[in-house]
Symmetry: C2
Subunit: 132 residues, 2 copies
C-alpha cells in the first residue's frame, strides 16, 4: 500500500500530515476523526483539526479512503480496499470485516432486484465469539 504513490496519482501532494492520516486510518481499521486527531497530535503536536477535516473530505472524494456509516456509531473512515461487510458485535462494539468475495452477496442482490448495483453497504449486528 504505497500511499505516496497513490496520492501523486490523484494529483495530491504527499505531505507528512496526509501520509500520517492515511497510516493512522490503515492501522485503526475503522477510526473516527477524534481518534485520528489524538493519534496525530502525538506525532505532530502542531497539527490542526482543520487540516484533518479538509484531508478526510478530500481523500474520500478522491476515493483513497471510504467513510463508514453505522447506526449508533460516529462517522468513521477506512482505507479503501475491496468492498466488504461490516460485522459489528452488539456487545463489545468491535467491527469485523468480511470480504464480499467470500460471499457473493452483490450478485445475489443484483439478481433479486434485476438491476445493476453501483455500491453496497452492509452492516450486520451480531454477538461475537468472545462475547458469547
Amino acid at each position: 500500500m504505497d500511499f505516496h504513490k497513490k496520492l501523486r496519482e490523484k494529483g495530491l501532494k504527499a505531505t507528512p500530515q496526509r501520509l500520517l492520516i492515511l497510516n493512522i486510518i490503515k492501522e485503526g481499521g475503522h477510526i473516527d476523526i477524534e481518534d485520528i486527531y489524538n493519534k496525530l497530535k502525538k506525532i505532530i503536536p502542531s497539527i490542526s483539526i482543520a487540516t484533518i477535516y479538509k484531508n478526510l473530505k478530500l481523500l474520500v472524494d478522491k476515493g483513497i479512503i471510504k467513510d463508514v456509516n453505522i447506526s449508533s456509531f460516529k462517522q468513521m473512515y477506512e482505507v479503501n480496499t475491496k468492498e466488504h461487510i461490516h460485522l459489528i458485535c452488539k456487545k463489545c462494539r468491535k467491527i469485523y470485516d468480511l470480504d464480499f468475495g467470500e460471499i457473493d452477496i452483490k450478485n445475489f442482490i443484483e439478481k433479486k432486484i434485476d438491476d445493476k448495483i453501483d455500491k453496497i453497504e452492509i452492516n450486520v449486528f451480531f454477538l461475537c465469539e468472545k462475547c458469547k
Copy 2:
C-alpha cells in the same frame, strides 16, 4: 398504526408534538431533523427544536422509530416497520424500500457467517428507472 397506543405501551405520554413527529416521519418515509422541524413549525409554530431532538432520541431508544444511516446523507429517521433494504438512486437520490421478505437475504448471510444475526442494515446504490 396507532401511535397513541404505541407510546402508552412504552410508558410515554402521547403529546401532540410526539404524535405529529411520528406522523411526519411516517409520511416522509425517510426524513431528517431539519425537514421534520420545518413541517412541524407549520402546524405548531411554537415548537422547539430541542423538543424534536429529545423526542427523536427517545423514540429511537424505545424502538418506535429507527435511525437511517446512509453515507453522504444526513441522519434520517423512519417508523420502525419490517426490516428492509434501502435502494438509493445515485442520481436523483430517492430512497426506495425493499422488504426482506421478498429476498431472503438475512438467511443468506446467516448461513454464510454461520451465526445468528440480530440486525442488518443494507444500503444499495443504483440508478433508478426514471434516471436511466
